[in-house]
Symmetry: C2
Amino acid sequence: MAMRPTSVSPRGDQTRESLIDAAVAVFGRDGFRAASTRSIADVAGVNQALIGYHFGGKPGLYLAVFDRITRRVAQYLGPVAQSIEQQFDEIVASEDRQAARCVGFIHQLTDALVATFSAPESSAWARLVLREQQDPSEAFERLYGGMIGGMLSLISRLIAQACATDPNGVETRVMTQTVIGQALVFRSARATVLRQLDWQDIGAAEIKTIQSVIRRNVTAMLIGGRS
Amino acid sequence: MAMRPTSVSPRGDQTRESLIDAAVAVFGRDGFRAASTRSIADVAGVNQALIGYHFGGKPGLYLAVFDRITRRVAQYLGPVAQSIEQQFDEIVASEDRQAARCVGFIHQLTDALVATFSAPESSAWARLVLREQQDPSEAFERLYGGMIGGMLSLISRLIAQACATDPNGVETRVMTQTVIGQALVFRSARATVLRQLDWQDIGAAEIKTIQSVIRRNVTAMLIGGRS
DNA sequence: GTCTATAAAGTGATAGAC
DNA sequence: GTCTATCACTTTATAGAC
């Protein structure tokens, strides 16, 4: 089985990039099995046989697509997450719980999630990721290890700190999912959202509204009814 | 183009049922395009040519699948929704806002949503519905008109009543989505949920935990931080 | 109402020229 | 690194026997 060539030729690099770009769109639209290597090659403007040469075959290209998605999503969320991670270390080291500050960090993260999921490129990603969520393959490992896992861990620790609960407890983790779910639904149930709200698209104005409602919800959930 | 026969033969009925059952599973697993009529017929234990005879072709069978899903989900959620709808009419007619009672109704609905999405049959449905949400076709109309629209409307009115807001206002509708999103995420991000919580499955015990957390969240969101 | 058989088109992989 | 050509297989739809 042919593997990705080790030499770094500018021409070949360009071909690989074009193929991955095209594969994100076509795999997203048609799914792994229905997507044909011919249509991917056509969209990429390269020869069909080059998929075998550069990625070893259709499955290899599919995995390369998820590495691409992971890297791109990390570009959106990474800076915010890292900044919070750093400040969170100081909070844990201090004696004060600083619940309000933790909630503020969660607000930053839900804002970023809503913005990321609403980005135009996210449309193709979502189809791929949602499929993997229902029926995880090797590609899901790359997603979880590359981005999702770290994000879940960070939000769980912030919630635990804000509510003085166990970050590894079941309730904290379930609560983490409900926080993310509030942002995720605007992508996963997109057709329903557009229809119910009579929106043509989720643009800058709509994103602001969503972010503001989720901020309010999160605040109420975490420091509204207690301590 | 052959249409569904008008005569009602027991033998043909059985064939149609088998084909729809099989189609839910195979379309769910492979998507519309990748699913082959041959594999559907094999799973159903009938001849491939009968898909053309009974449904006019592959697209006709696909639509029949969504009618089936709509009817089944309505069996889960319909009774709860109707009971609440009835009592809600009385609340609107009365002078008291009865916010706590409205929140109780929403709890019943989120409980039902979590239970429905976690049902084993929901696994195949979800793949189909999530695809339509990203890329709606004629099948989405049947879903929205048959079930989703009514559920959204009911929750929006309950939220508006509980919070004294406009049921048709953007904020109320966005809030409705965030409520549903908390239940939906346990299906739409299933692989992530199972992994983060180290669950093998979402069974009766897990459902109880999820329902309880969402109930608490909804209460905080709607009557925790205000009035 | 169900079957077999088949036509016409599309699939992924790959050998081999350049 | 890229191309053309082709193999072996699968796809949907349908004609026609029963």
